[in-house]
Symmetry: none
Subunit: 208 residues, 4 copies
Amino acid sequence: MTVTAALLKPRKSPVQARSVVTLDALHSAAIQVLTREGLGRCTTTRIAARAGISVGSLYQYYPNRDSLLAAVLEKHLDGVARAVERACRGHQGKPVAEMASGLVTVFLDVKLRNPRESRALYVIAEGIGGAKLAERLRTRMVTAMTDMLVSASDAHFADPDITAAIALSSLVGPVRLLLDGHAPTGFEASLEKQLVVLLTAFLQAHAN
Amino acid sequence: MTVTAALLKPRKSPVQARSVVTLDALHSAAIQVLTREGLGRCTTTRIAARAGISVGSLYQYYPNRDSLLAAVLEKHLDGVARAVERACRGHQGKPVAEMASGLVTVFLDVKLRNPRESRALYVIAEGIGGAKLAERLRTRMVTAMTDMLVSASDAHFADPDITAAIALSSLVGPVRLLLDGHAPTGFEASLEKQLVVLLTAFLQAHAN
Amino acid sequence: MTVTAALLKPRKSPVQARSVVTLDALHSAAIQVLTREGLGRCTTTRIAARAGISVGSLYQYYPNRDSLLAAVLEKHLDGVARAVERACRGHQGKPVAEMASGLVTVFLDVKLRNPRESRALYVIAEGIGGAKLAERLRTRMVTAMTDMLVSASDAHFADPDITAAIALSSLVGPVRLLLDGHAPTGFEASLEKQLVVLLTAFLQAHAN
Amino acid sequence: MTVTAALLKPRKSPVQARSVVTLDALHSAAIQVLTREGLGRCTTTRIAARAGISVGSLYQYYPNRDSLLAAVLEKHLDGVARAVERACRGHQGKPVAEMASGLVTVFLDVKLRNPRESRALYVIAEGIGGAKLAERLRTRMVTAMTDMLVSASDAHFADPDITAAIALSSLVGPVRLLLDGHAPTGFEASLEKQLVVLLTAFLQAHAN
DNA sequence: CATGAATGAGTCTTCATTCAT
DNA sequence: GATGAATGAAGACTCATTCAT
């Protein structure tokens, strides 16, 4: 683990119930401050205040501001990755149409479950070294998808990892459009169906 | 134009040759500082220094830091939008396969022409009121695409604007993956082909 | 309370002993810097330095520079107003000669007790929204004087509030002359007597 | 002449008509900017712009910002002093009642002729070394008044210079009250009469 | 352990002044 | 002479981080 990486790790493990509670409070406080005030005004003091603790205590849990934000981001991305992995395992050996449908469903589910949080994290990700984190989690998801794709009952993929990477990343843009509230009228209603069409068509195009 | 919008506008028009040069220097300086130091360290002083001018001079061209960054972003997005609009006009009445191919080619072309700049702008967009700008430009592109889609010789679209919005946004993720350098080996080589497959399959799925 | 007014209020109440000390230190530091360096050089950094604290700490007590200066001004003016009010109450029902004498005495007393501070505040008053403050305090004094005048045992005033306003303001110039050190030799020695003569003559001129 | 004094002098004498015009334009531009924007925003660039010339040209006439403001102040005070001196000469040998009346009339006349300008100058005076200037002009006026007082046909003054200083300075406060717009209703209407009463009573109190 | 006052480096922004054109 | 772009020192203010209580 590099020095930089070490600095982004939480300081104490949540062995005690209180810690877990505080950690959670800090996470949601961070997200609230972020969405309410913007990254510029998202200060440690404000986060601590909203979490109901003192700045000093915040530093008991995280060595610095960025590690807190990174933890929030990681927690979110980990949730997304877990959900995708589970879905992929659950669709092993199925036809690609089912895979596409299953994938879209979970993806939308985790991303839209808490839209406010999802949006806040895009902002965090740019501000800190979010790219590294995002990549690690993306790799997990692509791996899981690749495994699923190669098991498809009705298709064969020449470059399953590349197909997986494209398929996954192609979902990101449309979802973000919706989260940002910039989508055309009727977009949300048909988003899931459209994305299923998109993914299914793409995956079937590789079937021979 | 709102007050806020006014504040994001350049201060002086580049009527003189020198101004144009300085303006360009500022733009690329901003991009360099951004990619080299990150948004957090992208200060007016550093930008000015890299551009070879004084802070004072920077403020002769832009009323504040955000207006400079916004201008850089807008210039880039405007270039993308123009290219997409031109491509859409050029594929009126063609079959959807050609449309997909033309769109992907143009999109990759403008986005990858200056990868460093493209990446920097993702960071800017989050930090400032980039969402507004991005939406305006996206609207232009979606409009152009919608017009193109309805003219397709071999397909009919029930909701062409939604199809356009999804099609366009589905390209964003994969391209960014490449720009961020997180793509699997061989990704770049096949990206264009893959995206053409993706878009063609999606559009043809709507054909009846 | 308007927004502007709110911005000129101290940030934290001096509930703790330490705060009171720091607040006092800031006030006298401000006055010292003001008289030693002038309003132009009366910067937050310099005030903080002279007060023996950091700029950051200064901003824990006042939201901005002007609110600090305004507080200093208000404290001074409030002291003057209190003294005048007390004197006015103490001379209810007396003949105008005694009123004049009493008023001049307290006025000189409070203004000359700390000449350095008195002078500094003229400078402050111009720079910030001192006019508003000054007016409020002046109104208090004029009101108190008006009450006193109407109770005079040997005179009747047709427009007691106007008479009060003129009487009070006529003292300002001569006192300031002395504070600024521009008075002729022997001025200070006879100032009190002269002002008593001035005020008495003026008030008696209204007696019928 | 000290170095400081030299720096506050205009750079070129208005030998040419154009210079006079420009100088006047600068003076009123300064006053306008001052009243419209406040001392803080009263920059050389803005003054020059309002005067219709360039900053560079401004520096052709004054070596620095303060010398310009000082010149504006001096011109105003000189006007006041001249008027007072003339009035004093014109009332030589008259009874004190006439002197008082004449002085008040003239003082109000010059101060209220251009209230906006008068007010603006209080602000200037504090910001720059206005005290020095003010004192010089005040000395002229006190001298003229002293001469007048000693010639009074119906009174003898033990300390005519002190009496003059007090008399003059006692007018300042009331007039400023009016200029600042903080005077009670009916104040302006009766100000002249009241001040005549004030001064007459004061001067006659010295008569034996 | 918690607290939150104190710190001071670092940001943006302004503006008097100069000088090349 | 006139111009106004360029300069950069200096000011107000913020905020991550520390540490005495």
